[in-house]
């Protein structure tokens, strides 16, 4: 199923869509309030974008520096060209340590690589420890949002999932009680697992340390109680110097949830006595994206999800409609890089309103990249004939003043006399929408008369 089909499924439950829409918009508003408290906000965004640009322009050097420093710190560094190599490396570390169970905190990279499925096929049990990820894991679903993985679930459903899989009382729905039950259950896992895997938010070339940001404390509970800590990072997570963390930590949580900081900002530099620390650096298509001039800026992403929370399409279609690990506007730029045929629908899941680009803390030109992907996908023949014809007609109309005026007037007349022609099931824009009353005259006609 493609994005419009999945969005249609999500839209069958109108109350849920309204709730989803309003809740994410509230998160966006919290982001605004946090941002507006800092007069230097725009300067921070600009600096973050430029730092990331410098990183992309010197990435090989920084990676080599980072590796050397991490090794000096006692960390074992691995390199993986693609998802399969990444999964094999993690599996090998588990086998070498004769371990069949592992706890894992949030890492979108491991979602992208389908690590859990790979390990489970090889007889390894993986427990996701982020509360939202645990909920979707028990439900047998992928996360629908990179910061709030189970935002598509209602609390009653979560109570039901816990009842079914953890044997808790039936009919619970109080978030406080449900969180407490998960806390007790997962604490036992933290205390008994010998290997913990975490993601990486930032890796510092200058010092060889890596930084993990969480609110729950699950990454740390896992890592500090395990004999082996495996951290997995996309190669673009590098930043040059420790002092640059000042810029990124100020932007990340404010952009994500409106908090002034995540609860924990953990700097892992050396393994503790007797502990192994492994770091896996993953490419998986990133070097290809680096070579696509129009799309390379997408590698600046710090995964704050602000572009999803603000996106009118994401809010009303839900994360699962994007059928890729990272949903929303940024996911729609990243996915076609990995596979154009499978993800050709995603760059069209946007109104190109530009709200994503306006909130992005590293100033990625998200909506422009979506527009550019559409053109690439049409050129490469990944778009259906009718949609391609529509795009062609659209660009003829928009680029020709006379045709535009005639088409607009014809459209208004048509909608007034035959509303069924536009408001019918053949026009996907009409789904879940009422078409507005068309104005009697265009602005141009009004201006001609009244100027």
């Amino acid at each position: 199923m493609n994005h419009p089909q999945r969005a249609e499924v999500f839209n069958r439950d109108e109350d849920r869509v309204d709730w989803h829409d309003k809740t994410l918009w509230w998160v966006r508003q919290k982001r605004d309030m946090a941002a507006h408290k800092l007069p230097e906000w725009e300067a921070l965004r600009e600096a973050a974008s430029q730092i990331k640009h410098n990183v992309l322009s010197n990435l090989d050097e920084y990676l080599v520096q980072f590796e050397a420093h991490a090794q000096q710190n006692g960390v074992t560094v691995h390199w993986a060209a693609d998802a399969t190599e990444h999964n094999q490396i993690v599996h090998r570390i588990l086998v070498e340590n004769q371990v069949t169970q592992m706890v894992k905190s949030k890492s979108m990279l491991t979602e992208e690589c389908h690590l859990n499925e790979y390990l489970e096929r090889n007889g390894i049990e993986v427990i996701d420890t982020d509360l939202g990820e645990r909920v979707v894991q028990l439900a047998g679903e992928p996360p629908s949002h990179i910061v709030m993985p189970c935002i598509h679930k209602k609390k009653e459903e979560i109570g039901e999932i816990f009842h079914h899989h953890m044997g808790t009382e039936a009919g619970l729905s109080d978030p406080q009680i449900l969180t407490g039950l998960a806390r007790t259950d997962l604490r036992q896992r933290f205390l008994t697992r010998r290997v913990a895997l975490t993601g990486v938010n930032f890796a510092i070339a200058e010092t060889g340390e890596f930084v993990v940001c969480t609110n729950e404390g699950n990454a740390d509970m896992g890592a500090h109680l395990a004999d082996v800590h495996i951290a997995c990072m996309g190669m673009e997570k590098i930043i040059p110097k420790r002092e640059h963390l000042g810029v990124f930590t100020r932007l990340l949580a404010r952009s994500a949830t409106g908090q002034p900081s995540t609860t924990y900002t953990s700097h892992f530099k050396k393994p503790r006595n007797g502990q192994q620390m492994h770091l896996v650096i993953v490419d998986n298509g990133r070097t290809v994206q680096l070579g696509r001039e129009d799309f390379r800026n997408s590698l600046k992403c710090i995964r704050c999800a602000a572009c999803m929370n603000t996106c009118p399409v994401y809010r009303r279609s839900g994360g699962h409609s994007y059928h890729t690990a990272i949903a929303g506007p940024i996911g729609s730029i990243l996915a076609p890089n990995l596979n154009m045929a499978d993800y050709a629908d995603l760059p069209f899941a946007s109104t190109l309103c530009g709200s994503c680009s306006n909130v992005c803390p590293v100033k990625i030109d998200i909506h422009q990249q979506l527009y550019k992907w559409r053109q690439v996908l049409v050129q490469q023949g990944h778009v259906s004939a009718s949609k391609a014809a529509g795009m062609q007609a659209m660009s003829t109309v928009l680029s020709n003043r006379r045709v535009f005026a005639v088409a607009g007037s014809a459209g208004r007349t048509l909608m007034r006399w035959f509303p069924g022609i536009v408001s019918n099931s053949l026009n996907p824009w009409y789904k879940q929408r009422e078409m507005p009353e068309p104005p009697k005259e265009s602005f141009r006609e009004w201006y001609e008369k009244n100027r």
Binding site: W79, E85, H224, L225, Q259, S261
Partner: protein, 193 residues
């Protein structure tokens, strides 16, 4: 070719022309009244500030709030009210700790965070595994923003360094805020003048 060399070679072929690093923006948004700001923000994010004249004040707090619980600390002067010799236990044995009292290097006004590195934690797990966390911060050690925080950390060496801003929390279930996700349910900063 090894994956490492393959990746590095592909980057060299595909990377854009070198651009310079920008200057880091500065701000004086939080430069004044750092103690008041720190207190206000820590309170909004679910933590609390308790002003104490000296370590006796901390001991008093422990006596009244945790009379019959397991309390650990890294402060030898709290030996009467808390365990001080736990460096040789395994971190797993800290699972039943009710309250841990640790020292920190400094605090940050803009987000209510405190900075702590592993010698001050004794075990890296200690700030996470306890049910309730207390830290001791002197009022003169609060910097305005994260820029000053990293300037102060400079090139310090540590095995593990950590900013903690309030109690552990989650809003994963319908965006309802719950304090005490996997780590401490409360966080108290003992502010010493």
């Amino acid at each position: 070719m090894s994956p490492r060399d393959k990746i590095l070679q592909a980057i060299r072929q595909n990377k854009p022309a070198l651009t310079a690093l920008p200057a880091i923006p500065t701000s004086n948004t939080f430069a004044d009244q750092v103690v008041e700001r720190f207190t206000e923000i820590l309170t909004t994010i679910g933590g609390q500030v308790v002003s104490v004249p000296d370590m006796n004040g901390v001991a008093e707090y422990i006596r009244s709030h945790y009379p019959a619980h397991r309390v650990i600390t890294t402060f030898p002067e709290l030996a009467e009210v808390a365990e001080v010799h736990w460096e040789d236990t395994s971190p797993h044995e800290l699972a039943d700790v009710e309250f841990a009292v640790l020292n920190v290097h400094f605090g940050v006004a803009e987000n209510g965070a405190v900075w702590i590195t592993d010698p001050l934690m004794m075990h890296r797990a200690s700030p996470f595994i306890c049910q309730h966390l207390g830290v001791v911060l002197s009022a003169g050690q609060i910097v305005p923003t994260m820029h000053e925080a990293y300037a102060r950390i400079g090139s310090a060496d540590y095995g593990f360094g950590l900013f903690i801003a309030g109690p552990s929390k989650t809003a994963d279930i319908e965006q309802s805020l719950v304090l005490g996700a996997h780590g401490p349910k409360t966080m108290t900063v003992f502010l010493v003048d």
